[in-house]
């Protein structure tokens, strides 16, 4: 535990939880195509549902670098599944900050875990980046590509350069709330089973 360097075991742990996080993201992502407003509500859904694997992950984090590594993986997978690279800097920076915050609490203090999870959840907003940065051409593209104007209008009403700040803040807040939910679930199931 005093060892500071990451071991293969840590890499594997990161890999597993990244995969689990993405299962959650995909499950929620499918809902988003029902209506654009659901896309905006990712900031609520994903932090809360995703917090369960994340909190279990946090109990396994003991060294600096694991959370950062996770954010790098998230960025790579986001790119490979066609979500673009515009959000990659945000994802990695928020991962790094989350890691630093958690490190401050020595990866044990619950207070810094809550804060750290809140910041980590900012990666969800990276999904919206293509929509905001290229708003004009993106809208045209969507319509030309066959989306109805109604869908586009609601999408841009929910997500634009004004609401992004609200969405970012919501991400952090619900990330923190999610941390409590996740912690409760982890305590209920995993601590009893002796896995943590």
């Amino acid at each position: 535990m005093k060892e500071k360097k990451l071991k293969p075991k840590d890499f594997i742990t990161v890999g597993i939880f990244t995969a689990l996080l993405f299962v959650v993201e995909f499950a929620c992502g499918m809902l988003g195509f029902i209506h654009p407003y659901v896309v905006a509500s990712y900031v609520v859904l994903i932090p809360i549902v995703g917090s369960i694997p994340m909190m279990l992950f946090y109990t396994k984090v003991e060294k600096f670098g694991m959370i950062t590594l996770m954010s790098v993986l998230v960025a790579i997978i986001m790119f490979a599944t066609g979500m673009g690279w515009l959000g990659a800097p945000l994802i990695i920076i928020s991962g790094l900050i989350a890691d630093l915050i958690a490190k401050k609490g020595n990866y044990k203090s619950f207070k810094s875990t809550v804060l750290s999870h809140g910041i980590f959840c900012l990666w969800i907003c990276a999904n919206y980046f293509p929509v905001i940065v290229t708003a004009k051409s993106y809208r045209k593209n969507l319509i030309d590509g066959g989306y109805s104007a109604e869908y586009c209008d609601s999408l841009f009403r929910a997500i634009n350069s004004k609401t992004i700040f609200v969405l970012l803040i919501l991400c952090v807040i619900f990330g923190m709330i999610g941390a409590f939910v996740g912690k409760a679930v982890v305590r209920k199931h995993f601590e009893k089973a002796g896995i943590v």
Partner: protein
């Protein structure tokens, strides 16, 4: 070994190009042609590997949503049904090409090959090991989820007994239990085989770029250039 063997680096390049193209929407017929062509290549490769079922499934899904989208939905379609249709077809047409490619790569690349390719490209160990685990894990999660669903069915619990929280609790918690256990076994197995040893890894797979690889890369590069060119001019 069946099928057309491609170097993992070629496959990674394929993913790169496809996701690049998938990101921007196709408008003109030329762009659509490139896009559909690029979608067809991984499907073709899947067929040569003998994975007929998944190739057929992907093709059918893609074709149906493409046709639906082009013929029924226009700029001024309204209402819930069309919103649903737009949503469904939109996601399929937008993301399926990338998913087919990723699926093909995951299904046909051995982890050993992948690691060896990553090492040749000088990717840090941390990223390559964790990525390899992620790649290996998606099929495992699917399998485990299937068993959990069966177990739930046997007890007569479907959809979490009608509760939303139950749905998460009854499915995700068991899934996480098994994943954590599998992870422990996996790391024990990997360490036994010398992962993380302080010397340079050697690999059982000799990776060499063949003419096939270069041809495939050329096709992809060319179509990417065409696509981007068409975007800039158009």
């Amino acid at each position: 070994m069946r099928g057309i063997y491609l170097d993992p680096r070629t496959k990674l390049f394929m993913i790169f190009v496809v996701s690049l193209i998938v990101m921007s929407n196709a408008v003109t017929p030329l762009e659509w042609t490139i896009r559909i062509l690029l979608t067809a290549i991984p499907v073709f490769l899947l067929i040569t590997e003998g994975k007929y079922a998944s190739a057929l499934r992907f093709t059918a899904m893609y074709a149906v949503s493409l046709i639906l989208m082009r013929s029924f939905i226009s700029e001024d379609s309204k209402g819930l049904l069309s919103a649903l249709l737009v949503g469904y077809c939109g996601i399929v047409v937008q993301f399926l090409p990338a998913m087919i490619t990723a699926w093909y790569v995951i299904k046909t690349t051995k982890i050993g090959e992948f690691m060896s390719a990553m090492q040749k490209m000088h990717v840090p160990d941390g990223i390559s090991v964790s990525l390899a685990v992620v790649m290996r894990f998606f099929p495992t999660i699917k399998e485990e989820y299937g068993s959990i669903r069966d177990a739930m069915k046997m007890r007569g619990i479907s959809f979490g007994g009608g509760k939303l929280s139950g749905m998460i609790e009854y499915r995700m918690i068991p899934l996480m239990f098994s994943c954590v256990n599998i992870g422990d076994e996996l790391s024990a197995a990997a360490v036994t085989r010398g992962l993380g040893a302080p010397i340079k890894r050697t690999s059982a797979y000799e990776l060499r770029l063949s003419t096939r690889d270069i041809a495939v890369m050329a096709v992809f590069t060319l179509s990417a250039c065409l696509f981007i060119g068409a975007k800039i001019i158009g």
